[in-house]
């Protein structure tokens, strides 16, 4: 289902993939359309013009030129800060980090400047800014190239956080991100870049956008609610299919944006199922998994039939060795086990 061969030549699309865009293509299309629509949108990032590492910006420099698709130097603080300043100056910058982990060298510009300047100035400035952060494990890329650090930016105030898991969402959410007047982080899972997904006719409509804060119920069910993101959403859906044969009915919710979070949809679901599992590859301690658990416990305690559960990285760096990497990231087996345990079939 996924692409764990990111650093290998891509296979030619199979005939049935013709109409199934990849997440990478969807992101590219969203940015292309928005750059056509709005001349204020521009991009900065390392190598985005000539040889975009994961191909997400491929072809954009040819269409929009090197002023609007700016190759940045290895100066992440200056570049992210430049995006903040350009945004205050009326532009709508998009910044790519080659791996989202590298935001670590420039976090102050995000959390203290981009996210706080509007508040600090009593609403005088706005900072429309999209930061694209390739994330996630599964490529053998190691501890500093495989993290999913969105929980940090859910914690810090003033930042929207987007996690697209399909081509439809990648396009619709990216367009909303670009049109949003606030700092928005788009976490793009590297295993999803080349994976392909069915789309509806809307996909081609340049005015098709997906609003933030609306979770998608990817599958309905009545025994357990599983909240899952990015690649693990798809693993969960596969598990849910398999568990149906065991007579376990699983509802699967993709929050799609963590800030704003569609708490209502999740809580409603748990009120119906009485059981919650949260699956994400983020580090567990103070991670998004526990946050969703806490929100549900606060709002639907009376409806709970069992203790909510969570799966994630237990709190170690993502190791390089493939078998070790697999050991720290939730997988189908562990998802199935957790669901079975929730419904008392362990």
């Amino acid at each position: 289902m996924f692409d764990d061969r990111l650093f290998r030549p891509g296979a030619a699309p199979s005939p049935e993939d013709r109409d199934r865009p990849s997440v990478r293509a969807a992101l590219n299309a969203a940015m292309r359309e928005e750059m056509r629509r709005d001349p204020l949108v521009f991009q900065m990032g390392e190598d985005i013009a000539l040889a975009s590492p994961f191909g997400v910006t491929s072809g954009l420099a040819a269409e929009f030129g090197r002023e609007r698709i700016r190759d940045a130097p290895c100066s992440e603080v200056a570049v992210l800060g430049a995006a903040v300043g350009a945004a205050i100056g009326g532009m709508r910058p998009i910044v790519e980090f080659q791996f989202g982990d590298f935001l670590s060298v420039a976090i102050d510009q995000l959390t203290h400047q981009a996210a706080m300047l509007r508040y600090l100035t009593g609403g005088q400035v706005k900072v429309p800014l999209v930061v694209r952060l390739p994330c996630g494990a599964g490529q053998g890329a190691g501890s500093q190239h495989s993290q999913s650090l969105y929980s940090w930016f859910v914690h810090a105030p003033g930042i929207k956080v987007v996690l697209p898991a399909t081509a439809m969402d990648a396009k619709g959410l990216m367009k909303t991100a670009i049109r949003d007047d606030n700092p928005v982080l788009v976490f793009e899972h590297k295993q999803l870049y080349r994976s392909r997904w069915p789309v509806t006719a809307e996909y081609a409509d340049p005015e098709f956008v997906i609003p933030f804060g609306r979770a998608a119920i990817r599958r309905t069910g009545h025994d357990v609610t599983v909240v899952a993101t990015l690649t693990l959403l798809h693993h969960t859906l596969a598990v849910a299919d398999a568990l149906a044969d065991e007579g376990i009915s699983v509802e699967v919710i993709d929050p799609r944006t963590l800030v704003p979070l569609d708490t209502a949809t999740i809580v409603d679901s748990v009120r119906r199922t009485g059981r919650l599992l949260v699956v994400d590859e983020a580090y567990l301690p103070c991670g998004i998994q526990g946050e969703v658990m806490a929100l549900v416990v606060e709002r639907a305690f009376d409806a709970l039939k069992a203790a909510p559960r969570r799966l994630g990285n237990p709190g170690v760096p993502v190791p390089f060795a493939p078998p070790l990497e697999a050991a720290v990231i939730p997988d189908a087996r562990r998802i199935a086990e957790a669901i079975r345990a929730l419904v008392g079939r362990a």
Partner: protein, 323 residues
Amino acid sequence: MTHSLTKADVDERVALLRTMLLIRAVENAWADAYFAEEITGIPPSLSTGQEAIATGACAALADGDFVFTTHRGQAPQIARGLEPRRVLAELYCRRDGYNKGKSYHVTDVSRGVIGMGGVVPAQIPVAGGMAVAQKMRGTDRVSVAFFGDGASNEGAFHETANLAAMWTLPLILLCENNGYCITQPVADAVKAPSIASRAAAYGLPGVCVDGNDVLAVREAITAAVARARTGGGATLVEARSERVAGHLCHDRQGYRPAGEIDAARGRCPIERLRGALAAAQILEADAYARLEAEVAAEVADAVAFARASPFPATHEACEDLWA
């Protein structure tokens, strides 16, 4: 001794003097409010003795240009023409302050002032980004990053100077070298002959100017602005002055050599221009006294305004975060 200045030159000099006096008076009022315990929070950071830098620099700017201030940011705010009453109201954390009481990073977008300074070098890259916007939008406007000698040791300075050179940005990197980074003398932390000389590392022009000479500062910034407006790119300007009133105004500065602060006081930029204007018979003692009185009255009014302004309502704590 008389002079051969035009009326416009004379007016301009008097205006520069007035601006410096106003900065000093506003800041003193702020410090008074702190010492009288009218205000809480981090103690005021004053530009006493450094007023010529912001005054000269902002005199070289026009509408649509932007300045990004530091934690020692009141001087450029006043020099850009912000109203003392709303500046002080903000410093009193009141509803009628420029930022509605939300922060002391006084901002007035309409006058091109973005208040920053919570994190030492953070305004430098942001100013660079404003220059990106000014350039991409096809304006000939410029952006000015104020920062201190201490901040010149931060990575953000290096990266932004380099980016400005790469992208030929209309940016002025204005280093206010006041001799100290809190307790650390600049010579302890900067082993290069000057901060201006760091410009060469980026292929930028760097100039050093006497920061206590308001006309010299205005000149240096005018040249940098002209270069930026005509597509010539960024300039690093080091304006040398001395910090008089301590890092923050409660700082007793016991770490400074005896006599240093008094000597710095003796090089007061206000006194220097006043003396020059008096010597040239442009501004005699009584006219100067009138100017001082005018400024004092304006600031007294501003203090009254700030005091009378209410605190924001508690529900406002959760407003203004999202656009």
